[in-house]
């Protein structure tokens, strides 16, 4: 194996472009076998439980079940080309679920991240008291499983049990959190409740690593708190904001637990409410090839959106 950059070669050849300028003791690197021993415990399960299923899903998605000799003939699976994908794209329910999740993401992600950003900036300002309390309070939902959070909120949405509904009724409002127009936003609220604090802490941690001298310099130049926050702090933590956005996009496309729980108490959530629910429903209906095609499409959309967003922002912000 030649895959280890052995030190003698390094010592003879000039260091490439300023890398590793310090002269180093030549003690030899690990041998290929040793490196493999470090990598294999992760890569073996990674290949088995990540790469192989991806490959398997792709393979399945190009297959179709056919019957020989009419409707009651024996069935067999064969290569079907893009047949499954054509079917996915012709499926009205698929587009409805994508539309729903798109609407959800376009509203919920900005609301959540903007709230998180404002909270992080407030936590970072010297004016706020009780910082520790606010930090813990906001982060606590992260420890709550999505299913449990949805169950808790579903009690708060339920007309019979909810103190919130009681309260709103008392002041003359009669909300129907589980109604056809509202239930998507009720699910969005659960996601927002779960993840705002987590995102806030990522942004807050980034804010904390900005050197204080920067603010002092800005102050001498006459910048106020607002200017410092929006013109200095926000641009500096832009990479964290990008990261939280990418994770939020991935999270949105995976949406499952919240609507699945709300479905238990609301007739306004169908079994094909989100793309993931659609895939699961199709798989349970024994059309594995179709379910695989849906899974592949979801993964591709996720990839394109996350990568696209990263590329777009890194170009504009010059990161």
């Amino acid at each position: 194996m030649t895959d280890i950059a052995t030190r003698p070669a390094d010592a003879v050849s000039p260091p490439p472009r300023g890398r590793r300028r310090r002269p180093r003791l030549d003690v030899g690197g690990p041998r290929a076998g040793t490196i493999a021993a470090f990598l294999t415990p992760f890569f073996l399960p990674f290949v088995l439980f990540y790469l192989v299923p991806i490959g398997y899903a792709l393979w399945q998605s190009f297959r179709v079940v056919r019957r020989s000799g009419g409707q009651y003939g024996t069935s067999y699976t064969t290569f079907g080309g893009f047949e499954q994908y054509v079917e996915v794209f012709q499926n009205q329910e698929f587009w409805s679920s994508i539309g729903r999740i798109g609407l959800f993401g376009v509203v919920q992600v900005p609301v959540m991240l903007f709230t998180a950003l404002v909270m992080a900036l407030l936590l970072d300002s010297p004016l706020l008291k009780l910082k520790g309390f606010f930090r813990i309070t906001a982060f606590m939902p992260y420890a709550v499983p999505g299913v449990i959070a949805a169950i808790m909120w579903s009690y708060l949405y339920s007309p019979q049990l909810s103190p919130v509904v009681d309260l709103l009724n008392a002041i003359g409002l009669h909300p129907d959190f589980l109604g056809p127009g509202a239930v998507l936003w009720s699910a969005a609220n659960v996601s927002t409740w779960l993840w705002t604090g987590y995102n806030m802490l990522i942004m807050f941690s980034a804010l904390q690593s900005i050197p204080q001298e920067l603010y002092e310099a800005a102050r001498i130049d006459g910048a106020g708190n607002w200017t410092i926050a929006w013109r200095i702090k926000v641009p500096i933590i832009a990479p964290s904001i990008v990261m939280t956005t990418v994770f939020s996009i991935i999270g949105t496309l995976q949406l499952y637990s919240e609507p699945a729980v709300l479905r238990q108490i609301s007739s306004n959530i169908s079994s094909t409410f989100t793309p993931n629910m659609l895939a699961y429903t199709v798989a349970v209906g024994n059309n594995y090839q179709q379910a695989a095609a849906i899974s592949v499409v979801i993964a591709v959309i996720t990839f394109v959106l996350s990568f696209g967003f990263m590329r777009l922002t890194s170009k504009r912000a010059g990161l």
Binding site: T2, D3, I4, A5, L25, V27, G28, G29, P30, T34, I35, F42, F43, F49, Y50, V52, P53, I54, Y56, A57, Q60, V118, L122, K129, F134, T137, M140, P141, Y142, A143, V144, P145, V147, I148, I151, M152, L156, P163, D166, W193, I202, S205, Q208, S240, V246, I250, Y256, S257, N276, A279, Y280, A283, Y288, A292, S295, I298, A299, T302, F303, F307
Partner: protein
């Protein structure tokens, strides 16, 4: 300040409601105000919770602990080994392997669950502990963090002097590097632990046997039965409370670890 207070109430409200509701008899849930205590019978509710259906809730707790603690422990170890090797050893294909792992971070885990189910059903692993446990140990994000931490926390000079002393790579890793990385490894463990503890889709796809369920799937199935058996509501509520209290305590106790971890994750 006012804004922060409003938000704090928003974050605490469901938890407070859950605590109050867990202390009530089922009949009081609908008939009394949800935000004030009425007949206090938390311990009766807990007793019902732990004895209902042959005490299956205890089994679910045990399952969740096995999946989450063991899965996160194994997962952290293999992530640490891999991330450390990617950070500290120079070999051809290193950057390629790292970008494959980064790509893995972006793959939605729910999109993996269905094909995994099909594969596992072909080899007969479905409906066993392994069906949930094995996929849970893989954490591409853990490797990503481990690589960053190894770069930051383990000086190359130290590894080289250990080599000069004749220590093997594994010996160096476990006696020197592992210790230096340990605060970071706690973070990776915590995140993976919470990830598995909260996981729902994978167990739902893989498991039919109630005795293998984690808490999330168990409570979900009970919650679906409350329309027919309203008394189950009490156990769903008490069970929800029981399932989140330990994790919240762990988080409050281990604050400084996950905070440093978040900081490292956000810096790239």
């Amino acid at each position: 300040m006012a804004l922060m207070l409003v938000l704090a109430i928003y974050f605490l409200l469901p938890l407070y409601f859950l605590i109050v509701a867990a202390t009530k008899p089922q009949g009081d849930l609908a008939s009394t105000n949800g935000l004030t205590f009425s007949n206090f019978q938390l311990f009766d509710n807990l007793h019902t919770l732990f004895t209902f259906n042959g005490g299956i809730f205890g089994r679910w707790i045990l399952n969740t602990v096995v999946y989450a603690v063991l899965g996160a422990a194994v997962g952290t170890l293999i992530s640490a080994l891999c991330g450390y090797a990617l950070a500290k050893f120079r070999f051809r294909g290193r950057e390629f392997l790292f970008s494959v792992i980064l790509g893995g971070v972006l793959v939605p885990s729910t999109a993996l669950a269905l094909p995994l189910f099909l594969l596992f059903s072909e080899v007969g692993v479905v409906n066993t502990y392994f069906a949930v446990f094995l996929p849970s140990i893989v954490s591409p994000f853990g490797v990503y963090l481990a690589r960053i931490f190894a770069n930051a926390a383990v000086p190359q000079e130290l590894i080289e002097s250990a080599r000069l002393d004749g220590a093997g790579e594994f010996r160096t890793f476990f006696s020197v590097s592992f210790r230096l990385m340990s605060p970071a490894l706690v973070t990776i463990f915590l995140f993976q632990f919470v990830g598995i503890w909260n996981n729902f889709f994978l167990p739902m796809v893989m498991l039919q046997k109630e005795s293998l369920f984690p808490i999330t799937l168990g409570l979900f199935s009970w919650n679906g039965q409350t329309a027919r058996t309203p008394l189950l509501q009490e156990s769903v509520i008490a069970g929800s409370l029981v399932s989140i209290v330990p994790v919240i305590i762990v988080f409050i106790v281990l604050q400084r670890f996950w905070r440093s971890g978040l900081a490292a994750g956000s810096l790239k």
